[in-house]
Every structure is written in structure tokens, then in C-alpha cells.
């Protein structure tokens, strides 16, 4: 009877307690590392925010149109605060991952390995998105000014189209990097982009009839030529 009790209760209990005794130091180390991580993350955030404010990063983002884009996306925080938060959470996540490693649990280790391998993709996708937004804004503005100065009536539409295409392209590239519904996203992009080009071609073709007529008249019929300005600006 004693043997039976030992086999059924005492031995598993001993084993369990041994495992707990072995696991507890790991858990404590993990908790300590995580708390250190939290403190360090707070420090990193403070330093980053102060440094970026010193470098007038918000003003730079204003100039590049980043702040405007963020406002349109209903993000009320300034770019400096956003970056501060980003680095805070990045530090927290890094220390969280280290803490999990310290637990020495095979299943978690396997999951973490996969996560760590995926992290660079997330970073690259984020960079692609940010660059896409900045570039989209810049190109949109440049197109707007150039087309207004060329006297194009639909300058606003043209500018918004260029901006949207650039941002859309960045979004597709980011999704491609993340490997999310790769074929669906690319197919959707091709359909949208193709449709857009077709719509633009039709718009140019139909709307440009008058311009083409005027151009040809001006080219081949002197009396149809529009009077040119001879003002010398300099």
C-alpha cells in the first residue's frame, strides 16, 4: 500500500516540487530582467524625446508633411512623442523576449525563435510605410505646384492621384515584406493601379479633345494660335 501511495502521490509530487524549485529561480530572473527593461525603456524614451526635441524633429516633420499625414490619420501625438513611444515599446518587447528566454521553456523558445526571425520584416515594413508617406506627400506637393504653374485645371486631382499611388505602392510593398496575403494584395494592387491608369487614359482622351484640337489648330493654322506673352521677367 505504501509503495502504491509513493508511486501515485509522493513521487509525482516530488518531481513537481523539483521542477518548481528548478523553475522558480528562472522565473525570478525573468521578472527582474523584465522590471529592469521597463525602467530602461522609460529612460530610453526620455532620452530619445529630449534629443529629438533638441534637433527640432517636429519642425522637420512639419516641413516634410509627416505631421499633416499623421493628423489626417487621426493621430494626435507629435512625431517626437510617437518615436518616443515606439522606442519605449521596442525596449519593453526586447526585454520581454529576453525574460521569456530565461524561463527556458522549449515551447516558448521555439515560438520566440520564429518571432525573432519575423521582427526584421516588421521593422522594414514600418520603414517602407514611413518613407512612402513622406515621399507621397512630397511628390504630391511637387506635382501640384508644377501642374498649377503649367496652367493645368485638374492640378489638384493629379496631385492627389500621384500621392495616393505612391502611398498605395508603399503599402503594397510593406504587405509584401510582411508576407500577408501576398498574392491577394499584389492582385488587388494590379487591379486598382490598372483601373486607375485606364481611368486616367480615358479622362485624358475625352477631356483632352479640346486641348488637342487647339494645339493642332495653333500648330497648323496661324489664325488659331493663342497669343503668347512676350513679357521678359528678368
Amino acid at each position: 500500500m505504501e509503495n502504491v501511495l509513493e508511486k501515485i502521490i509522493t513521487e509525482p509530487l516530488k518531481g513537481f516540487l523539483q521542477k518548481i524549485a528548478k523553475f522558480l529561480p528562472n522565473l525570478f530572473s525573468a521578472l527582474i530582467v523584465f522590471v529592469i527593461g521597463l525602467v530602461l525603456a522609460w529612460g530610453v524614451k526620455v532620452v530619445i524625446v529630449k534629443l529629438l526635441k533638441l534637433l527640432k524633429f517636429d519642425a522637420l516633420c512639419d516641413r516634410m508633411g509627416v505631421s499633416e499625414t499623421l493628423k489626417k490619420m487621426a493621430v494626435t501625438d507629435s512625431p517626437v512623442r510617437l518615436l518616443g513611444r515606439f522606442f519605449y515599446w521596442l525596449t519593453v518587447i526586447i526585454f520581454f523576449v529576453i525574460s521569456l528566454y530565461l524561463l527556458e521553456l522549449p515551447t516558448i523558445e521555439h515560438l520566440l525563435e520564429k518571432l525573432l526571425l519575423y521582427l526584421p520584416n516588421i521593422m522594414i515594413a514600418a520603414i517602407i510605410l514611413v518613407v512612402g508617406f513622406v515621399l507621397g506627400n512630397f511628390l504630391g506637393r511637387a506635382t501640384l505646384i508644377a501642374s498649377v504653374n503649367a496652367g493645368i485645371d485638374f492640378a489638384g486631382i493629379l496631385s492627389r492621384t500621384i500621392k495616393s499611388i505612391t502611398i498605395l505602392l508603399a503599402f503594397v510593398m510593406a504587405m509584401e515584406q510582411l508576407g500577408i496575403a501576398r498574392s491577394t494584395v499584389i492582385a488587388a494592387f494590379a487591379i486598382v493601379f490598372g483601373g486607375l491608369i485606364l481611368a486616367l487614359s480615358l479622362a485624358f482622351g475625352l477631356g483632352g479633345q479640346e486641348i488637342a484640337r487647339k494645339y493642332l489648330e495653333g500648330r497648323f493654322k496661324p489664325e488659331g494660335r493663342e497669343k503668347e506673352n512676350e513679357i521678359k521677367h528678368i
Binding site: 505646384i145 521678359k232 528678368i234
Partner: protein, 417 residues
């Protein structure tokens, strides 16, 4: 050509009294006339001075340098005695950033190395230059101790509209000197000023590419050099490339003025009024060919600009100015009038936007183009039947508005700092 190679070539020359420089790039068709006018001018008006003509070329492939070397004047036909021992020609390519500024840097270096007393620079595409131009640009320096001689041309009322509506009134209000053609292109200056220009660390910047004219004028004025202007008559030169973009031109000129405002903020903020500068030369009126103006096109571009660029203007133009622009865009051609007061504040706010760097300077200034065309259209409507003197009176009014509004502008600028 590097500095040492240039010095080696110059060592063959002795000290020179007068230097006249011509920057060039593919100007073989027009430069010969300019060279002849300079040689005749130097021989006629400065026969006892040792003089040097320098052609600083940007790598022409049409034989410009050869044309300069071979050009000679038939002195007998212009009743001048040739003094071959007093006149030299020096043709050299310049190196560095391509542009008029780099060509001028080479000319300044030669002037400094040869201890030149007086210099002049003239454009290589001039068709109306006469020997008298050389006298008028050089004599105030040699005989009256002026350091800088700015040109004063007789131009058509719709010729030089960027100068008339922005550069002249703004420069005059800022620095207090009434220099009529601050970006004229043909100047006289002392050897001392040439050395001063050379000492400035700008030769790797945009000044080397474009904007050297306004840079020379502003640098001379802001640093207290003795300034005057010389009446040269009509300025007729080769038409600029018809494909050249107005907004790019506007950007080059206005960004140069705005950049100089940053550099000399301490100077112009102290200036409270303007004064005329002494003018040499016999002023006479010149017959000028009429200019064709398409008002509808100008006003249409203004309207498109106000409508489409509104989203951009909102980031640096105040509400009241925006409201005025929108009202103006609604008006028919017969009532189209851009008041001086509003135009002045448009320019001031564009300067402030560049100062604050609300976006790229190029984009800010290029977005000024439709508003500028609106001001030109308004000016054409107002002055269609006006004589040259009446137009000058109209410009005088604009200058006075710039000067009157300047204190308020200075206050805003200083608050920004």
C-alpha cells in the same frame, strides 16, 4: 584650371589697372561684338591705363574662346588710336560648379592676383553694348572712388517684371539704397571689392550656380561699400531660352534674395528708410519695341493657382490675405486689381515661410508663381496707357508701400527668432 595653373599663366602679365570680365558659355555668335566694344572702350576712354580683357568660359563647344581670341576692332573706323601695348586678352576656362558665379570667381581671382584698380563684368550675349558702357562702369571707380557701379538701363515697361515687382522694391526697402537694377548683370567694381567678394565662403553654394548678380549687389550694400549707378541706355540681349521655366527663374532670383535676408538680417533690420544713389551718365529715352501681353492667360493662371494651391498657402499665408486672393480670383478682367499693400504682404509672408522653413524653399517660392502672374496682370491693366515716367511713378508707389510696411514685417521676423 586650378589656382596654381592660373597663377602660372598670369605670371607672364604685369600688374594691370583695369580688368573687364566676360563670363561665357556657347556665346560665339554674340561675344565678338562684346569683345570689340570693350577693346574700343578701353582704348578710347582709358588709353594710358594697362587693361586686360578676361573671358571666363564654362566649356563652350561652339568656338566661343577662339572667337574671343581672334576678335579685333577696326580702330580707324571708330576714330581711335590703337595702343597695342596697353591692351591684353586672357581667355581661360573656369572649373568647379557650372554657373555664372564660378565664372566670376575666376575673374575676381585674376583681379586680385594682378592688383587691379577697377573691374567690370558684362554679359556675353549683349547686342546693345557700346564703348561708352566701359567708361560708365569703370570711371566712377577710378575717378570718384566708388566701389560698386550698378547698371541702370532704359527698359520696356513690361521688361524685367520680377525686378520691378519684387527684387527692386524689396532690396530697396531692406537695405535702404535705391538701386534700380540690382540684378542687371553688368557691373563695375573696385579691386578692393573683388578681393572682398573672393574672401566670402560662397563659391561651393548656389551663388556659384545662379544669383551672383543679386549677391554682388547685396554684399556691396550690406557691407558699407560706396555704391553708385550708371545709365547705360537700352539693354538688348539674346532672348533667353523660350523653354526656360518661369517658376524655376523665380525660384533662382527670389531664393537668392531670401537667402541673403538670412545672412544680413542684422543689417536690414536696422534700416528705416531708403535713399537715392548717385547716378552717372546722360539719361535719355530709348525707342523700345512693343511687347505682346496675353492678359487672359495671366489671370487664368492666377485663378488656377489661388484655387488649387489654397491647401498649401494655408500653411503660411494668414486668413485675411487668403480671403483677398480668393476675392480677387472671382473678379472679372475689367476689375482685376492686385493692391500694392496686399502684394507687399504676400512677399513678406513668403519670406517668413522660407525663414521658418515650413516646407522646402523651392516649393514655397515656386508656389509664388501664380500670385506673381496675378500681380503682373494687374500692373499691365493699370499701366497699359502709361508713359515710361508714369510707370516709374507707379513703381515708386510700390517701393514706398514696401518701406511703409517694413517695420511690422521686422517685428514679426524678430519674434520668430
Amino acid at each position: 584650371m586650378d589656382k596654381n595653373a592660373l597663377k602660372e599663366k598670369l605670371s607672364a602679365l604685369e600688374d594691370i589697372d583695369i580688368l573687364v570680365g566676360i563670363p561665357s558659355f556657347n556665346n560665339a555668335k554674340t561675344i565678338v561684338h562684346v569683345v570689340k566694344a570693350i577693346e574700343a572702350g578701353l582704348s578710347k576712354y582709358f588709353p594710358t591705363y594697362k587693361s586686360l580683357l578676361v573671358n571666363s568660359d564654362g566649356g563652350s563647344t561652339d568656338g566661343t574662346m577662339e572667337a574671343v581670341s581672334q576678335a579685333t576692332v577696326d580702330m580707324e573706323s571708330v576714330l581711335i588710336n590703337r595702343r597695342a601695348d596697353k591692351f591684353r586678352k586672357f581667355v581661360t576656362p573656369y572649373h568647379g560648379i557650372p554657373g555664372k558665379g564660378s565664372a566670376f570667381q575666376t575673374i575676381f581671382q585674376i583681379a586680385r592676383d594682378l592688383n587691379v584698380k577697377a573691374c567690370a563684368v558684362v554679359d556675353s550675349d549683349l547686342r546693345s553694348i557700346t564703348p561708352e558702357w566701359i567708361e560708365l562702369l569703370i570711371k566712377p571707380v577710378l575717378d570718384e572712388n566708388f566701389d560698386y557701379v550698378s547698371p541702370y538701363y532704359m527698359r520696356h515697361k513690361y521688361d524685367g517684371t520680377i525686378t520691378n515687382s519684387i527684387v527692386y522694391p524689396l532690396t530697396r526697402a531692406l537695405y535702404g539704397k535705391s538701386i534700380r537694377q540690382p540684378i542687371g548683370g553688368d557691373f563695375g567694381f573696385s579691386g578692393k571689392l573683388a578681393s572682398f567678394y573672393l574672401s566670402k565662403d560662397v563659391w561651393e553654394t548656389d551663388v556659384a550656380r545662379f544669383g551672383i548678380d543679386i549677391w554682388m549687389t547685396t554684399t556691396a550694400v550690406a557691407n558699407g561699400f560706396k555704391i553708385c549707378q550708371a545709365f547705360l541706355g537700352a539693354k538688348i540681349h539674346d532672348a533667353k531660352d523660350p523653354g526656360s521655366d518661369l517658376s524655376a527663374m523665380l525660384h533662382q532670383v527670389v531664393s537668392s534674395v531670401f537667402n541673403l535676408m538670412e545672412e544680413y538680417a542684422g543689417v536690414w533690420q536696422q534700416v528705416t528708410k531708403s535713399e537715392p544713389v548717385r547716378t552717372f551718365g546722360f539719361v535719355y529715352s530709348v525707342g523700345l519695341e512693343p511687347i505682346q501681353v496675353n492678359l487672359d492667360k495671366l489671370i487664368e493662371k492666377f485663378r488656377i493657382g489661388v484655387k488649387e494651391l489654397d491647401v498649401l498657402y494655408r500653411s503660411f499665408l494668414p486668413q485675411d490675405i487668403l480671403a483677398i486672393l480668393h476675392q480677387l480670383a472671382e473678379k472679372p478682367k475689367t476689375h482685376f486689381s492686385f493692391p500694392d499693400q496686399d502684394w507687399v504682404w504676400v512677399i513678406f509672408h513668403f519670406a517668413l515661410a522660407c525663414h521658418r522653413r515650413v516646407m522646402s524653399t523651392e516649393q514655397i517660392i515656386k508656389s509664388l508663381t501664380p500670385l506673381y502672374l496675378g500681380k503682373v496682370a494687374s500692373f499691365v491693366i493699370e499701366t497699359w496707357d502709361s508713359s515710361a515716367d508714369e510707370v516709374e511713378g507707379r513703381l515708386e508707389h510700390l517701393c514706398l508701400v514696401f518701406e511703409r510696411e517694413k517695420p511690422a514685417f521686422v517685428e514679426i521676423w524678430m519674434k520668430e527668432d
